[in-house]
Amino acid sequence: MASVNLEKIVKTYPNGFEAVHGVDLEVRDGEFMVFVGPSGCSKSTILRMIAGLESISGGELKIGNTVVNNLRAKERGIAMVFQNYALYPHMKVYDNMAFGLKLAGLPKQEIHERVTQAAKMLEMEQLLDRLPRQLSGGQAQRVAVGRCIVKRPEVFLFDEPLSNLDAKLRASMRVRLTELHRELRDRGQPSTAIYVTHDQVEAMTMGERICVLKDGTIQQVDTPTTLYDRPVNAFVAGFIGSPEMNIRPATVVARDGGLGVEIGDTMLPLPAAYSDALGNRIGQKVQFGIRPENIGTPRSIFAAGSQERASVANCTFRLREHMGNEVYTYFDLGGHEFAARVPTDFAGEIDKAERGQTIPLGFVMDKAHIFDADTGLNLTLSALQPA
């Protein structure tokens, strides 16, 4: 039973580069926490500090109730899965899994039980006497996970474990890992997990809570839906979601009976709820953000029942991409490029549109976000409905 607590954690590498700037985070007992962020944002660094593979330059790290800053890796009760699997190439799968237990001096009988149980859980009993080089990537990754499970650690650490697999396998391993975590938790075994990835789809689907990082600082820690609906700043808004949110420069303007945003020469009215937050910003430059699924043809908007909240603007059609159930539509509004996701059933006028043709598209404005132009902070957070 262990939570992981980071307090003002700082990492300065020997070359003087400060990679982590005072991170505060609590990972609750049994929780599946995902660290996500672009390459080089120090996800791995933080994970490796928790693992005990990197020294901690400042702050306090607790696992359970113990401060572990100066404990060695093996005393922290953690296990880790690496991106390249890191199986011992000269040992059979069985010995790979048993190695840590042997070092810990567990009796042979116990080791055997734990290894066979883990192998059964991961459906790899038939692999036990193979060498790592005789395994496929997916099998090797399962062995790496098995090697962690047998240790019954308090905390599981994963550093981009699926990024070497092909897309299909990645999707199925994603489900497996999530299931495995729930299974361990249901059995009452310790199962706190920290999972590093730069893939926001993995983060959204696997994480119970997600920690979004950028340049060694935490941007937001929240559940996937909250991150999606109520991003605290433009970075989180742009990073979470695919295709990503349209975030374009705009100006707040006054209109009769409320406020609006002006994008180029087009004005879109903002809902009344935004007036409090934006009233003192009339005439100022901001960033206007709206997710592609909140833009649609008048028919799709009507079908979704959001016609009262939407406003229609004339847009210049550029390109469409058929994805099967949806059509990704790229168009210009006020001189800026936008993307929309329209359900195929309501995409009739888009299908017929020619490049450069003017088409009317609806914007669901109470899903729009307004970000400060300089700091990127979400100014409309208070007005957005809670998830």
């Binding site: 890796a73 199986l87 011992y88 190439p89 080089r133």
Partner: protein, 307 residues
């Protein structure tokens, strides 16, 4: 209508293409034969001295110095192994059994201490951070550029001080301190090219630095260590100057010195004997090489594990 033309056109085009295939095949076979012929003859040319050596061990002195053809004129001489027997017995009171034993008494301990010292030093250079590491490493590389001759005199004086002249210590002891810089360098480079993940996984599994070395690093280094052992074996086996300087008692001579001694004996030298024993002296190195070859190839194809 277009599908009709395709159907009728097909068989027509197929017949000439068959001939074409045959022509290409023939051309490829000829060029292959030519390539084998050229490579084979060059290879034979390079191996000829070895064949000649083998044949010469069955010839008389007179024939050795007058013919270039490798087989003896009288082929029945090939059944006469007396040169091997005489060479083995030597004209001294010791047989080559003694000299071979002596060689092994030098070579085997030396290979072992080389492996241990190289691994330890390379591990430290490749995996640990400590002050002065860069400086120490450049000094080590520096000694690689130093001609070994330069060290002979001071080393001799040092070992004389230590009372180790006419023992095998001067030939073995230096290797216990990783002075075979080339080998150390080889292992350092190999280790630098090996990902650290496995070692990190082992640290999390609970290894301390020495367990890490023994359970993880040494197995990873196997191909490199086999190369080191092989070269050290062959080079030490063939080393002549070292024993010449330090060993003065005939009873302690290794093979290389004993061979030279057989040539020095005044009076009529039976060259066939010497040649015969030179061939025997090649055998240990050859055997070790062929035993190690399998691991060489394995090491080259399976270094690390696939992604």
């Amino acid at each position: 209508m277009s599908s009709d033309t395709v159907a009728t056109a097909l068989p027509k085009t197929r017949i000439p293409s068959n001939a074409e295939v045959l022509r290409t095949q023939r051309r490829e076979r000829i060029s292959l034969a030519l390539r084998y012929l050229i490579l084979g003859s060059v290879g034979l040319l390079m191996l000829y001295p070895l064949f000649w050596l083998l044949g010469a061990s069955f010839k008389s002195n007179q024939e050795i110095f007058t013919t270039i053809w490798f087989l003896p004129r009288d082929l029945t001489q090939l059944l006469d192994f007396s040169a091997y027997y005489n060479g083995w017995m030597t004209r001294t009171e010791f047989t080559f059994a003694t000299y071979f034993l002596n060689s092994f008494l030098i070579v085997i301990p030396r290979v072992i201490v080389t492996l241990i010292s190289c691994t330890l030093v390379a591990y430290s250079f490749a995996r640990f951070e400590y002050p002065g590491k860069k400086f120490l490493f450049s000094i080590m590389i520096g000694t690689m550029l130093l001609p070994p001759i330069v060290l002979r005199v001071p080393q001799y004086l040092m070992f004389k001080e230590l009372g180790m002249i006419d023992t095998y210590w001067p030939l073995i002891l230096p290797s216990a301190f990783a002075v075979d810089t080339f080998f150390t360098f080889l292992v350092v480079q190999f280790l630098r090219g090996t990902p650290r993940d496995m070692e990190e996984a082992a640290i999390i599994d609970g290894c301390n630095a020495l367990q890490l070395l023994w359970h993880i690093v040494v197995p990873l280094l196997k191909p490199a260590l086999i190369s080191v052992a092989l070269f050290q074996f062959i080079w030490t086996m063939n080393d002549f100057i070292g024993p010449l300087i330090y060993i003065s008692t005939v009873e302690k001579y290794p093979v290389s010195l004993a061979l030279k001694m057989s040539m020095d004996v005044s009076g009529e030298v039976e060259w066939a004997n010497i040649i015969a024993i030179s061939i025997v002296a090649l055998l240990p190195s050859l055997t070790v090489f062929f035993l190690a070859q399998r691991y060489f190839i394995e090491g080259a194809t399976s270094s690390g594990i696939k992604g």
